[in-house]
Structure formats: C-alpha cells, structure tokens
C-alpha cells in the first residue's frame, strides 16, 4: 500500500454534540421499539426487512456484505460452585468458602484456596458488605440499554476476604463511592444466576 497522507481535518466526521446526544436517542429507540419481545427475534425481523430488495445481499460496491449471526445453546454445570447457586435460589442466602488451612474466606466461593492450595469448606457470609470500588455505566449493549445508568462494583461482605462483582442500586445517586456500606437484596423469583441478588446502600443521605 502507498503511504497515507496526513489528515487535513482536525475532527472525524462525527461531532462532539452528536456524541452527547446519541446515548439519549438510542435509549429512546430501545424503549419504543424493543423489549416487547426477545431482542433476537426483533433483530431477525429488522434483517429480513433490510433484505427485501435483494435476498441475502446487504450492499454491493467494492465489497459484498451479508448478515450473519452465531448462536450457541448449552447445558452448563456450575460444578463445585453449585451449592452457592442452590442456596441463592432456594433460600436467598449467600455462601462463601473458607480455606481449611489459612482461613481465607472467598466470595465468590472456590473449592480450593489459591493462596495455600488447601481445600475450602462452605461458609455463610454476611449480607452486609463494603464497596471496594464501583462505576456507573451509561453505555451498554442492547440487552442493558434500557436500564442505564446502573452501577456495578466489587462488594466485600463484612466477614469475607474477597469481593464479588455485583449491581449496586443507585437510588437516584450518580456514583457509589468506595467505602460505601451496602446490604444484599434478593429477587422474589430467583432462577439460580448471579443476578438473583444485588446490593443497596445502607445509609440514606
């Protein structure tokens, strides 16, 4: 290839104002047009509409472009961590794992200690915890766009040595500061996934 020439424009084709507005626009679109049914079936329909003029071909020019997707189905086992999900789903309680040798309490749990390589035993951990650090997401994939802004952060239960990534209810705040005290809340209909619970701030200010 030949050497590219120096750019003559200072800004790319998108402007800063456009950047600021497009999150809002995308949120509106998602709220209006989606979420009434699964995203995947909606997208299949959008693609079918695009392909009406000429089946299978999206665009022609100096390249030939087609739509495609990859879908996989699984029967996935949580293995040695299964008890955590069982207790979460059935009893709305949180289990960590304590090393039988050095006493380190892991949350999320693991079957063996990664510090001293001994086995661990199951141990209930407190619903109350401390935020180690968090962020507030304002941009997401389509699956999460209708719920922005939302906070995710690492929360260490008061009686554990490690923290778990979890959603933290913003309750109108924009940022959850490191050091904030939080407590776990559980969905009424739990299916055995990590998003069956979340954290909320303990103090209200």
């Amino acid at each position: 290839m030949g050497a590219p020439v120096l750019p003559t424009v200072l800004f790319p084709s998108w402007g800063l104002t456009e950047l600021k507005n497009s999150t809002e626009k995308a949120k509106e679109t998602i709220k209006k047009e989606l979420k009434s049914r699964p995203l995947e079936s909606m997208i299949d329909e959008i693609i079918a509409e695009r392909l009406k003029p000429e089946p299978s071909v999206l665009g022609r020019g100096d390249y030939f472009e087609i739509p495609d997707k990859m879908v996989m189905f699984y029967k996935y086992s949580y293995g040695g961590q299964s008890k955590f999900f069982h207790e979460l789903k059935e009893n709305a309680v949180l289990y960590g794992a304590k090393c039988k040798s050095c006493g380190m309490v892991y949350f999320p749990p693991r079957t063996h200690c990664s510090e001293c390589y001994s086995e661990t035993s199951w141990q209930r951990v407190s619903n109350e915890g401390i935020v180690l650090s968090s962020t507030t997401s304002w941009y997401a994939t389509s699956d999460f766009f209708d719920v922005v802004p939302y906070a995710v952060g690492y929360v260490k239960p008061l009686d554990a040595d490690t923290g778990i990534l979890q959603r933290i209810d913003l309750r109108g705040k924009e940022v959850i500061e490191p050091g904030t005290k939080v407590t776990a809340r559980f969905r009424e209909k739990r299916i055995g996934v990590v998003s069956d619970f979340w954290y909320e701030m303990m103090e209200q200010d």
Binding site: P12, L16, Y78, E115, T135, T136, A140, D161, I164, G179
Partner: protein, 417 residues
Amino acid sequence: MKSYKQMKIDKRRVAVVGTGQTKFEARTPNKSYFELAYDAAMPAIKESGISPESIDSVVYGIYNDLFERQIMPDTYVHDYLGMYGKPGIRVTTGGATGGYAFRAGYTEVASGLSDITMVIGVEKAQDCYDWAQGKATPEVIKSIAYSADMTWEFPLGTSAASSYAILASAHMKKYGTTEEQAALVSIKNHGNAMFNPYAQSPMKITVDDVLQSRMISYPFKMLDCSLYTEGAYALILMSEEKTRELGIVDPVWVMGIGSSNDKSFTGARSVKDRMGKYGDIADLRNHYEAANQAYLMADIENPMKSLDVAELHDAFTFTEIQGYEAMGLCGKGKGGKFIEDGIPLINGDLPVSPSGGLLGAGHAVGATGVMQIGEVVNQLRHMSGKRQVQINHGMGLAHSIGGPGSSYCSVSVMGVD
C-alpha cells in the same frame, strides 16, 4: 529459578529489524482479517530485506474469535501468507495480545528454535453489528463482554470500560486523581496522532471537550476511551547471528521483557496476598511486577534516566496515568501530577505515546501492542518522521495490557547499541 539478569546472558540476543502496518481505521469492509495481515506483513518483510521463505516461524496476535467470526483465525492467516510448512501459533490475551505475542516471538528466537520470526497482530472488530441500534459499537462491546467471567460477571451488564473504570474510581479515591488530569492524557494522545499518518483519531481538543463528552462509564467519558479499530501490524524478529550474516545496519534489540497476570477476579486483589506489596484494586499490581522484571533484565535502575520514549496502553486515559506510576516514571499516586507537569508530552522530559497511543492511533486490539512496540523501534531508529522524539540513551519501553481488571500485562524494553 534463573534470574532475568542471568537469562540475558544465557539467551541469544534478539532484534527487531523490520516493521509494517496498515492504516488504523474504524472499519475496512474492503479487507478481510487475513488480507489486513497480508498488508502489514509484506512491508515488514520488504523493509527487513528478507524473503518470506526465510521466515522460520510466525506468532499471531489475534484477540477475539467473535470479532473475526472465526475460531482459530490464525490458521487462515498462515495459509494466506504462504507460511504453510512452518510453525505458527496464536496468542490471545485481551488487550495485551500484542505484547504477549511479542513475548512469544522473542522466546522463539532467543531459545534458538528460530532465527527469524514474524509477529503479526491483526484485528477486524467492527463486523459485529447491532441491528437494533443500527450501529457496530454495542455489539462490539458485547463480544468483548464475553471475556468477563460468564458465570459471575457477564450477567451483570459489565463492559471493558466498566472493568477499567472500577480501577480508575479506586485510584481517584485513594490518590485524589481527577477527571481534569485524565483529560490532559486525551488531549496529548489525540494531538500526537495528528503527526501519525496511520492514526484513526487525530484531533485537537480541549479539557472541556473531554469533560463534556458523553458519559460512558464513570469516570470515563467518550473522549477518555479509545475507539475500536481495524488494522494489522507486523514485526520481523531476528537472532544476533542472523543480523550479522545479513548485514542489518539498524537492529533494535530486545533489552528486557517482563510479564505478569494479576487475579482476574479483581475483587480478590488484597494487600494481604502475594502481590500485596504493590497495593490493592487501585494499583495495577501486575504492571509494577512486569516493569520490575523488564527493568531487571535490561539493567535499568531508574527508568526516567534510561528511557527516551515510552508507549503506554491508554485504552482509557486514567489507565495511562496508572501506567506512569506502575512503570516507575513517577511515584505511587503521582500519575495525575506527572501529566499536569507536562513530562509525558511529545516535547517533555519523557514523551509517552508519540504514536497517539490507543486514544489517538486506535485500538485494533491484537495489533495494538505490536504497533506500540513498532513505534518504539522506529523512534529508536529515527524513522518516526514528524513525531520523532529526541533519542539520548537509546532505550524505549512499550506497555501492553488487557483482560478483566487489566489482569494481563507485558512490558518490552527495546534498545539500540
């Protein structure tokens, strides 16, 4: 276990003797990933003055199968480049893919398995397409989000930005780093890119532009974040004996390589664990460790007194600030002041990312780390055109990081005799 210093004595010296790249662009629909790799490989081979047949082995840095819409994409690149019959391996370590691919290429030559090894980083990110929103980015970040632990983290709506934003928030809280200081990194790197004809995002911007750009994942705004990029970068690595045999006049030597992975379950990083001496979630602990290893191997005691240039992995502005500290360019928690003082500016005491870095040149994931090593090589060979920095000591550093909570880090120190 052998010390890194001992390794330098025992192993063969390895040089980079040629670089080649494509322009980094948002999307290149007229090129497939193997065609992009071809477009970077051929100029690198030509510049090195070797023939494709003389290459003994190839290392491919390609991050994401979902980007490429292909498992084992390297095997198709290998075929396309006519490398059949020779060994080829692929490295995939998130954003650090390029740095780790270089490490693998170095070991090929240093061990004596190969005399000439080609390292190619390539990525074709933006064929992922979100039909609901009518744009690529949300689907691109989804394909990256699958790198988060699928059981514990992915279902919460995490992204690459949120993973690094959590580290930045901790750094702000612990050391008082500000969004204004981070904005200075964005201004610097987008500005440097204006002198890089291969860069994706050359821009002249202000602190206000950065602060007022839309929020992505607090504290990151749009202009704190690198963009997704398609492109390729190739390096030719050669043993010392081979450089003499072929009469290479400007070899750039690998002086030191250090690499370290921290816990990818970021919430487990504690001052009480084996890496606790480097800090906690606010500190990029594996970056400190990787830099220490690389400096030991390269005999560097004070990097500010030995390095002429550094390319840091600024996927996000705050990450570069954290990188200043971990690379030992300033004290712990002083990264914000380091940029305020203008030290990493292109005409400062230690220019950082004259290429424009990821923010300015673009983040073609697998190619990024290879590009930054190539930039250091070309700076040391005085081949960087309008963005050439002053070379006094003949040494430069490239920093390549990636993974959840920046769990991968590889640091390469390059030098000229």
